[in-house]
Symmetry: C2
Subunit: 520 residues, 2 copies
């Protein structure tokens, strides 16, 4: 009873829970569960299979003597390869109950079930074979040492093949989930980071090694410049750049994609629209064919998704730059510089983030804010450039730039244009209701209008205009403070005062002596 | 010898090639290949297994009597489930040669190999089991009718399970390839069509039925309107719209995605950023759990990809509308209407397509052409609106709008802006070299510049301006014809003359009495 004592205490409970291997990977030995109520059968089985080896690994044995023990072991060990299962134990059909439990309750379809019977039971063999999802049915008498070896050996072979298919299936499902995951990333930085994380998890899903052991770099190569998008693990971008040989880069000249691997290094290179993307993974991991296959499929989807993301980035940048360029040109009629509209975009986004608008709204405002003065295109030159005070008639014409801008933008259904229409219309409204064109007050003024109003005035005060020199920092701060609750939303004035340093940083960063597109 | 005669002629060749089932799906009967040099074994095996049924299907038998025949059948029939394989035939190891051929040459790892031996061969059982990838090893004497049934039955069970895993694996690989396929689609129309095609091929990959039997609709629902994006098969969009119950649409209020299926109908609904996407598939096909699983994974990726595509569309439209709106406003200073820039975009794309520019270039030109007169923003009002002839000084200022526009746009690296800079700079150059600002001639003028030059003049002639009434159709055509090789590229004048009707259609479609954003 020594084997039994090792696993069970007197009450028949497991005396210590066996270490479970949560992964689907085969353990270092093939686990065989022997279920029989006769101790002799356990002993002789282990003796017979003592020296059996399959695929370079030996066997380890677990023993159960009744249904309850068998169920307990089966539910805590999910990597048993083969069960040698006695039919008649405490009941005539005890073994069949265990077989049903494995398939129907545990939903384990991998473990190979070899039914062994000492005496013909009440159910004929044909019925057992057909009604229970078992893999072999043998009489104990026919199982000589030689036959037992053959039976267990072929069962292990089946188990290994099914496990490989199952693992491959899991890998493919992970590729699909990983693709969905990276497709959701809208920025290049989060996309690149997502790709490396997904690759790591693809590679290490069945492996006991720690994920941090992976080192990965995702980079893009444009003309001659290699630019690292993201990296995982302790790898210097420089070392990576020099490790890519020219041959590796040349090999894809003829095809769109190429995957190289050797020992612990996988390199995938893809080329789309003139940009090469290089994914390099190294780690204390030997890359198997199945890994390479999964990585290849994933990288194929990644390359296409990345191309879409680049298109997206390019559309966004084009939109931004067109607005900066044209609005800058429009501002230049009144001798202002193009950087005014750009700075207003940055101050506005800063306030929007600080006041807690959603990321979507912050972005919308960022792209729409430069459109605030677009209506000035229709204001005559002589009014725009008059250094003296405007007379009443001129002032009425000047004020019309708000509604002209609104009408120009509001026909569109595009969110950025809608936001632009609101901003054009409301950026001269005052918190106290004394602004124009509508005389709206307080929160009747859209938050976009309130934000751009402060951003526009701050930048005007800090800049040189045809009718004034730039104000000093203290003067500006004092003026804005005084206008809290008058011209400006008090909450935004508070934000301005808290983030004052950032306002002046933006003012300097995009000052009027710089080309307004230089750092787009 | 009747069975043998049926399959083989006297020379031992297959007398008629058996119909192959190229798919991996199990056929209507399980195919069992008996390989044995004794006719009696064939007869008795078939007799013993005559009434064996597994998973509702009976068995069909193929017979081979030597290695050559076995190889021939195995290589033409890829859906044999089980082979009962004699070891000793024309040689001591003939059966082992067949086993090796199956695994190593045919690379068939699904077929279950049951080795049967009449006499102990020269190689011990242990070695055979370990060295050959077989699934069972039996002595003929031990295989009673009952035992043969058990052995074949459990082998069929293994085969079915592995086939299911293998088919699932193939399905998953198809999902990945299908995702890559739809990710490559850049337009909504080709994307939607691609989705339906990929779903059809996912559903029918293992099925003998014809793909045309599928009916599918991909639609989106925005607020209250259902809009069909693509459809496959004979299904009316109206019928589809009324077939979706409000309950189905309501069910996703709480979650992002939902999949319903019943008998021959699958409906997947996903919701992202306020737009519901509905994919409905019906067909003479009973949807199985595995189908549903694959469709669900595919639809998940599709929904995300569609969201990205919508974002791209929206960015593209925003860019176009901002340019129309602002350039329209700029044109309005000289009392022209916003629709001028819009029409110039359409004439230009028409000529670009006709002259054979790439789709990329056509699109680039379409988005950049409206920027041609952007430099006029800096031309003083009194010059723009002077009804009389400009004096030399005024004319020099007017001509500067080309280089001002170029300088405004050329700082950007974005392709659309680069194209805009070229167009702003060159749209007043003449084919004969007498244009401005540089006096370029012939093909030294960029094709974009040559195209927009003709488009701009055509539209100016056909429109009312502050200094002129619109010209009549004949006058316009005569003028452009006369300017071939003078102002305009002769090849473009030819295109104009060939597509004249389309030019006047565009002129009418976006005429000056329409809101310039009405049909964006």
């Amino acid at each position: 009873m020594s084997e039994q004592d090792m696993l069970f205490d007197e009450s028949g409970n497991l005396s210590q829970s066996a270490p479970t291997n949560a992964s689907n990977e085969a353990p270092s030995k093939w686990k065989i569960l022997i279920v029989d109520d006769e101790e002799g059968v356990h002993t002789i089985t282990k003796l017979a299979l003592n020296r059996t080896q399959f695929a370079g690994k030996g066997l380890s044995f677990l023993s159960a003597y009744n249904v309850a023990q068998a169920k307990k072991i089966l539910s805590s060990e999910n990597d048993i390869a083969v069960i040698l299962l006695d039919v008649v134990m405490e009941t005539e059909e005890a073994g069949l109950e265990v077989a049903e439990y494995i398939r129907d309750v545990l939903n384990n379809h991998l473990i190979r079930i070899i039914l062994r019977t000492g005496q013909p039971g009440t159910i004929p063999e044909k019925d057992i074979i057909e009604q229970y999802d078992i893999n072999d049915y043998r009489e104990k008498t026919e199982l000589t040492k030689r036959k037992l070896h053959s039976t267990v050996y072929t069962a292990l072979r089946s188990y290994r093949d099914m496990l490989a298919l199952e693992n491959h299936k899991i890998g493919l499902e992970k590729v699909i989930a990983a693709t969905a995951n990276i497709l959701k990333q809208k920025s290049m930085a989060s996309f690149a980071q997502g790709v490396l994380e997904q690759v790591s998890s693809l590679l290490y899903m069945n492996d006991g090694t720690m994920q941090p052991e992976i080192k990965g770099v995702l980079a893009e190569k444009d003309s001659d410049d290699v630019h690292v998008l993201a990296q995982v693990g302790d790898v210097s971008a420089q070392a990576f750049q020099s490790s890519i040989s020219q041959e590796e880069l040349d090999v894809i000249e003829d095809s769109d994609q190429a995957l190289h691997y050797q020992e612990d290094n996988i390199c995938h290179i893809s080329k789309m629209n003139g940009v090469e993307t290089i994914l390099n993974i190294t780690g204390k991991h030997e890359f198997k064919d199945v890994d390479v296959h999964l990585i290849e499929m994933f990288c194929n989807n990644m390359a296409i998704a990345l191309d879409n993301l680049r298109l997206n980035d390019s559309l966004r940048n084009t939109q931004k730059e067109i607005v900066y360029a044209i609005c800058g040109l429009a501002e230049s009629r009144s001798k202002e510089t193009g950087n005014h509209v750009r700075r207003v975009a940055y101050y506005s986004r800063l306030m929007a983030e600080e006041i807690g608008l959603s990321p979507n709204q912050c972005e919308e405002l960022f792209y729409a804010a430069p459109l605030h003065d677009i209506g000035k295109i229709s204001v005559p030159d002589y009014i725009l450039n008059k250094p003296d005070r405007l007379n009443d008639e001129e002032w009425e014409l000047m004020k019309k730039h708000t509604t002209v801008g609104e009408n120009c933008l509001k026909c569109s259904h595009q969110p950025v244009m809608q936001a632009g229409a609101i901003i054009a219309s409301q950026h001269h409204e005052n918190w106290n209701g004394h602004g124009y064109p509508q005389g709206l007050s307080g929160t009747d003024i859209h938050i976009y209008g309130r934000i751009v109003a402060l951003a526009d005035v701050f930048d005007a005060l800090a800049s040189k205009r045809c009718y004034k020199e730039p104000w000093g920092e203290e003067e500006i701060v004092a003026y804005i403070h005084k206008q809290s609750g008058v011209k400006f939303d008090p909450q935004l004035v508070e934000i301005f005062e808290r983030r004052q340093a950032d306002f002046f940083r933006i003012l300097q960063e995009y000052d009027d002596n710089q080309s307004y597109l230089s750092s787009v």
